[in-house]
């Protein structure tokens, strides 16, 4: 082979070698996933089959098209003494390669349409979960016809020291939350998806659900899975600084287990109500406040209260100023900034604790305390 031919051979070989090295590299550790998951739902499997169908059609067409091209590159070279032909059109061929692809597309459109209609079939849901995107966490609320709604926030559980490479990263690095969404198996669950601030998108590949969470609007999506298990996903729409740090974990359990879990959650809610009436000691408030702070405020105000997206809490005029001013910001936020109204997100016990914590941690040492009843009264006005 002459030098040029070898080069050309390399042209074909390049992608192949790359694919091989990709596979080799992947095989070195665990084999990484290279394809879409079929997931655990019927719709997910249909989407997967559709994806594979279109992929194979593309591969077949690609092999044909690139085959012809590489043959031409091989056979019709000047260096081999090939004389150029002079043809430059052919109505028949041109009509053929306009019409045939058109029919292939029609063939694809049928299964695509039927799968899409299934995705949109939101009727006959057995239960509803309201999913609300916040910067940067998810809130789940079980809309309950009998009894009270159960609702909670689901925050990233991975620690800052794992993220900043101080500690080793755990198995579910960035895909773990403090409280997963719990769903019963074999039940058609409808998600009502919305957002509190900017647009987010709720995506769990194995449930084949991705739906944008748009503030002020409610989108619908649904799933039904026969398989129990833990399924992980992430926010898919850029929503600001910590967009990469608001995972989704869905825990699908048997219907019995789900009923039990729901009972516990309802009991917990009742307990919080009781706590609201109590008075706490400084130590109790500080301990609880630290936990609440780390879960809800640290991302913007920093581990040492030094600030970041948010202003510094250490030495802040508000945190070391009059109590009502501090409560005002905690409960109602600062409109038009990233400081949201936490009044609807934290219960009064947690709010009292975190305000107390901010006033006494980071060297603020104000020495005063906020009790749940103070928060309650403040909210009442």
């Amino acid at each position: 082979m002459c030098f040029k031919a070898k080069r050309l051979f390399g042209l074909a070989l390049g992608p192949v070698l790359m694919l091989l090295s990709a596979v080799a590299l992947a095989a070195g550790g665990e084999v990484s996933q290279v394809n879409m998951t079929p997931g655990v739902t019927e719709v997910g499997k249909e989407i997967y089959n559709l994806h594979m169908l279109i992929l194979w059609i593309c591969v077949v067409i690609g092999v044909g098209v690139f085959g012809v091209m590489f043959y031409s590159i091989y056979a019709h070279r000047k260096s081999k003494g090939h004389e150029p032909a002079t043809f430059h059109e052919s109505t028949k061929v041109e009509i053929a390669w306009t019409v045939i692809p058109f029919f292939i597309l029609i063939g694809m459109a049928f299964p695509a349409t039927s799968t899409l209609l299934k995705i949109y079939d939101n009727d006959d849901a057995e239960m509803d979960v309201l999913v609300t995107g916040y910067q940067w966490k998810w809130k789940y609320e079980y809309l309950n016809e009998q009894g009270e709604n159960v609702s909670f926030f689901s925050n990233l559980r991975t620690s800052q020291s794992e993220i900043y490479n101080v500690e080793d990263k755990g198995e579910h690095y960035l895909l773990e939350v403090d409280e997963p969404l719990v769903l019963p198996a074999d039940t058609k669950v409808r998600f009502l998806v919305t957002a509190n601030d900017v647009i987010h998108s709720w995506w769990v590949p194995e449930l084949a659900v991705k739906k944008d969470a748009v503030p002020g609007f409610i989108n619908e999506a649904w799933t039904r899975t026969a398989q129990e298990g833990v399924f992980r996903g992430q926010c898919a729409e850029l929503c600001g600084k910590d967009h990469g740090f608001m995972p989704i974990v869905v825990n699908v359990v048997s219907e019995d287990e789900y009923a039990q879990w729901l009972d516990t959650k309802q009991a917990e809610a009742a307990q919080i109500k009781e706590l609201m009436a109590q008075t706490f000691s400084m130590d109790e408030l500080m301990e609880r406040g630290k936990a609440v702070y780390e879960r809800n405020c640290l991302a913007c105000h920093g581990g040492g209260g030094e600030g970041g997206v948010g202003t510094a809490i250490a030495g802040s005029a508000i945190a070391t100023g009059a109590l009502p001013g501090h409560l005002e910001i905690g409960v109602n936020g600062v409109p038009g900034t990233a400081m949201q109204a936490f009044g609807g997100q934290l219960n009064d016990v947690d709010m009292a604790a975190v305000i107390t914590y901010q006033r006494n941690a980071f060297g603020n040492n104000m020495g005063d305390m906020v009790q749940p009843i103070d928060v309650f009264n403040f909210k009442k006005g």
Binding site: M18, E46, I61, H76, A109, A112, D212, A236, L238
Partner: protein
């Protein structure tokens, strides 16, 4: 101008006040290359942070500024101006015109660009940082929740739009009025055709973009609520307006690239372009369809199912004219007499990789499947195959192809080929694995990722560094050619090249076609 045969003015005023299409084309090309390097530097920061899981180099907020500026600078600073530069240089030469129709406006549309990008880049040093809401700047992240720099961003977009519209009007006026006698529309080189259609797209959609950012400005500073549900507006409205601009925009980027390879492939196949007429019709069809497919970027936003179906069918249809083009290029090579100089290598690279990007585009058009693909790295892979291996490869091919005509010196072929092979391998190593991580569930625009995505991300970063480094070789080769390349005075630098630009002297004199050339009526298009 009194004396028609004067050369360029001396010193800096030559460039500041020039109305010469070649000078302006040169400035556009150098400027876009500088932006390519700047946008590339942002990309290197992104890929360095993504080299390994965990946060190493930058903070998440800065990471978002990098992805945003990378996208904006590459689309509006590198790709678009580079093709405008090429249009300036080549359209008058290809249609036998002495200059562009509106030479003073031409000067203006270039010179408003550099200060604009300077302003945009300077937002990095502002309090609150540069824009961090992605190049698609969805509201309300880009309005209520945006840093103060958003106002400068809006101003930049206005000026860029102004520049593009002026450039387009100029191209339309030139092509419509200044063709040499005998050059009918169906005899124009395809590069001229694709640019003419692109210019109409630009004039149609740039005002829409300007409208979108103006509404943002009103929401931010004047109390309106176009995009805020709290005030009765709708954040999704923003996306409809943006993509009504945005989808035609991607064709604004790729159509001139189609034109370039339609010039180069016949030249190195020594055979006329196959299916010239159908190329023109396919380009027009793509341009038309590009106006009615915008919501394929919004399948998950919560549209009614009838809307989804309409946009899915319309998007799938684009595959037909796109396929026609690919088949035509391959038929042009078929039974030609092929050689593989650097411009041809980059054109073949374009052909292979753009086709792959077209395939993934077809996959993305399937709405139910897009529920899994959308906003994942699969989309990132798709658009880098069409924009980098499509638009940038074709632009690179164009530089190698016409550089000898521009400066009368030959570039170093071995170095050019090396540049191609390093780019080709680096590009694929960078972007092919992104299909895998995307399908496996990695969202785009995240500064850190779960462990199962680690190996492909590392590969991708290595590929990106290789591709980035190969551009240094390119820059060196171009400068070396201009300074000390082997002189050539052949009018026709490439034996298979056709077209009026190859009838003028090499290097192309400062003024060309002061008297229009005669087009042989029997001669087919070039």
């Amino acid at each position: 101008m009194g004396d028609h045969h004067h050369g360029p003015a001396k010193g800096i005023t030559r460039w500041l006040f020039t109305t010469n299409h070649k000078d302006i084309g040169t400035m556009y090309l150098w400027f876009s290359f500088a932006m390519f390097i700047l946008g590339g530097a942002f990309a290197m920061i992104i890929r360095a942070e993504l080299f390994q899981p965990g946060m190493q180099l930058v903070e998440p907020a800065f990471f978002n500024q990098m992805t945003t500026l990378h996208g904006l600078v590459m689309v509006f600073g590198a790709i678009m101006p580079s093709f405008v530069g090429l249009a300036n240089w080549m359209i008058p030469l290809m249609i036998g015109a002495p200059d562009m129709a509106l030479p003073r406006m031409n000067n203006w549309s270039f010179w408003i660009l550099p200060p604009t990008f300077l302003m945009l880049a300077s937002t990095l040093f502002m309090e609150g940082g540069a824009p961090a809401f992605g190049w698609t700047f969805y509201a309300p992240l880009s309005t209520t929740y945006a840093p103060p720099s958003v106002t400068l961003f809006i101003f930049s977009v206005h000026v860029l739009g102004l520049s593009s519209i002026m450039g387009s009007i100029n191209i339309i006026a030139t092509v419509m009025n200044m063709r040499a006698p005998g050059m009918t529309y169906m005899k124009m080189p395809l590069f001229v055709w694709t640019w003419l259609i692109t210019a109409f797209l630009l004039v149609a959609v740039m005002p829409v973009l300007a409208g979108a950012v103006t509404m943002m400005l009103m929401d931010i500073h004047f109390g309106t609520s176009f995009f805020s549900a709290a005030g009765g507006g709708d954040p999704v409205l923003f996306q409809h307006i943006f993509w009504f601009f945005g989808h035609p925009e991607v064709y604004i980027i790729i159509l001139p690239a189609f034109g370039v390879v339609s010039q180069i492939i016949p030249a190195f196949s020594r055979k006329p372009l196959f299916g010239y007429d159908s190329m023109v019709y396919a380009t027009a069809a793509i341009a038309f369809l590009s106006f009615i497919v915008w919501a394929h970027h919004m399948y998950t936003v919560g549209m009614p199912v009838a809307g989804e179906l309409f946009f899915m069918y319309a998007t799938m249809l684009i595959a037909v004219p796109t396929g026609v083009k690919v088949f035509n290029w391959i038929s042009t090579m078929w039974r030609g007499s092929l050689t593989f100089e650097t411009p041809m290598l980059f054109s073949i690279g374009f052909l292979i990789l753009f086709t792959i990007g077209g395939f993934t585009g077809l996959m993305l058009s399937i709405a139910p499947a897009d529920f899994q693909y959308h906003d994942s790295y699969f989309v990132v892979a798709h658009f880098h195959y069409v924009m980098v291996a499509g638009a940038v490869f074709s632009m690179t091919a164009a530089i190698y192809y016409w550089l000898p005509k521009w400066c009368g010196r030959m570039y170093n072929e071995a170095m050019g080929k090396t540049h191609f092979w390093i780019s080709f391998v680096g590009f694929n190593l960078a972007f092919f694995p992104q299909h895998f991580v995307g399908l496996a569930g990695m969202p785009r625009r995240i500064p850190d990722y779960a462990l199962q995505f680690a190996d492909f991300n590392m590969m991708s970063s290595i590929g990106a560094f290789i591709y980035g480094a190969s551009q240094i070789l390119f820059l060196y080769n171009v400068i070396a050619t201009i300074v000390s390349g082997k002189p050539t005075s052949d009018e026709k630098v490439w034996d298979g090249a056709e077209g009026l630009e190859w009838t003028v002297a090499t290097p192309a004199p400062y003024h060309t076609f002061e008297t229009p050339p005669r087009i042989d009526p029997a001669h087919a298009h070039s």
